[in-house]
């Protein structure tokens, strides 16, 4: 690795000021992407800002009216061991437990998974399905952006120089809601999704009130398929409505062929995984009622 300086600010204001004065700085949370990329020469910088000492980035708290605040640097293990996450967002706890292996989960954060903006990022389709919002800050102020609008291309996101992801905000789950992320990998763990689907549903007496579906590894960025979720609104919960949504998700996918699978195979997976993710979300919603 080339030489860089290291700073570990302890307040958000100081972190933002440091970032403002070092536009080429990279932010270090778990480092499971950044340190690999710096070592391989895929990224270069003369300044690494360790943001794990900033309280706002370590926050993990649930409020009955405001929902869940998940600091951008909270590691996967702290996420899935959190009692409120396990109770109110079981799908989030589950997705945090399938990122990498145990050692990666002790460092890697969900905020980092989002900022790294890999099309295959496992958490992002679920964040979109859950309707999570990003709190982005700079020395000039703060704004909020929906997760589905955050990634722009492989490795790219909407944040400008000087901006930092502070936390993710999840709305309180509605009554009768369930969510699930499902991926296809040839191994049982420690692999990159050939395709992945995050789905959330809100049910009312056997009818879909709402649904959100997003896809991984089948487009240059995690893909929100609004039409597939919207197609379920007001429809009865049955095989026909779920199959129709799955076909819409498949039609929206824009996969490429690579070492992990062909475009055709990935499209096929989109339909299968969407159906199964919806079925799992429905099951969770019914069990919670």
């Amino acid at each position: 690795m080339k030489w860089f300086d290291y700073k570990a600010p302890t307040t958000l204001a100081d972190a933002l000021a440091q970032l403002d004065s070092h536009p080429g700085a990279y932010l270090l949370a778990g480092g499971t992407d950044l340190l690999v990329q710096l070592r391989a020469g895929r990224k270069q910088t003369d300044m690494v800002l360790d943001i794990k000492h900033v309280p706002e980035l370590n926050e993990i708290s649930f409020d009955e009216s405001a929902g869940l605040t998940l600091g951008a640097a909270v590691c996967c293990a702290d996420t899935y061991e959190n009692a409120a996450v396990k109770t109110h967002y079981p799908s989030l706890a589950e997705v945090a437990s399938i990122i990498g292996g145990t050692q990666i989960q002790g460092r890697a954060s969900i905020g980092g998974n989002l900022c790294n903006a890999a099309p295959s990022a496992d958490t992002v389709p679920l964040l979109i399905a859950l309707g999570a919002k990003c709190r982005v800050a700079s020395t000039k102020g703060e704004h909020e952006i929906a997760v589905e609008d955050f990634c722009t291309a492989p490795g790219k996101n909407v944040m400008r120089a000087g901006e930092m992801l502070v936390s993710l905000q999840f709305p309180v789950p509605k009554k009768g809601s369930g969510a699930h992320y499902l991926r296809f990998i040839p191994r049982n763990e420690m692999d990159i999704a050939v395709a992945g689907v995050g789905a959330s549903v809100v049910l009312d007496n056997g009818t879909f009130q709402e649904a959100r579906i997003a896809l991984a590894s089948v487009a240059p960025k995690p893909l929100f398929v609004r039409a597939a979720g919207d197609s379920l609104k007001g429809k009865p919960v049955n095989g026909e409505s779920i199959e129709a949504a799955a076909e819409l998700a498949k039609a929206a996918a824009r996969p490429i062929s690579d070492m992990r699978g062909t475009a055709e195979y990935r499209s096929h997976l989109c339909a299968v995984l969407t159906r199964r993710a919806l079925e799992a979300a429905v099951k969770q919603a019914r069990e919670a009622q």
Partner: protein
């Protein structure tokens, strides 16, 4: 200005300070600066788990931690597992079950197994395999490692 950073930390219950460059990994510091060479370098990108240590109780691959991040934290390496001259039951079980051949992956497996068994004293075989998925072994085929973990679990509960 390129100067080394002074880091104060605790490794295997001992207060330690060292100088390192910000770009050096904790793995490099452990092995090359502190001569704690029980921690092994395998892939150096977080996949193989040979360099596994605990950082404030959490399992991490030390190749993906900067040495400077150790400031004020507590680290346990393979050197901190044995109790004086007595091997830890996990270490004995690995020996008795021939759960190693070349030995490069073994320190990482043992550090990870200790965290598993302290959290979950009686894990299923599936759970053991899933928990240790971030530790690769290219010699044993894993079965003997799983048997060693199961034996250690029995002995630690006894």
């Amino acid at each position: 200005m390129q100067s080394k950073t002074h880091v104060q930390t605790k490794i295997n219950d001992e207060e330690i300070d060292f100088l390192c460059e910000p770009r050096q990994s904790l793995l490099e510091v452990l092995r090359d600066t502190l001569n704690l060479t029980g921690t092994k370098e395998g892939c150096n990108d977080g996949n193989c788990g040979s360099c596994t240590v605990t950082l404030d109780g959490r399992l991490v691959t030390s190749c993906l931690v900067l040495g400077v991040e150790a400031e004020g934290r507590e680290i346990t390496t393979i050197e901190g597992i044995a109790r004086g001259n007595d091997l830890h039951p996990i270490q004995k079980a690995f020996l008795e079950n021939a759960a190693l051949q070349c030995g490069i992956c073994t320190p990482g497996f043992i550090v990870a197994t200790k965290v598993l068994l302290e959290k979950e004293p009686d894990p299923s075989e599936d759970r053991i395999r899933f928990f240790l998925a971030n530790n690769l072994c290219r010699c044993t085929g894993y079965d003997k490692i799983i048997q060693a973990v199961q034996q250690a679990a029995r002995e630690m509960q006894a």
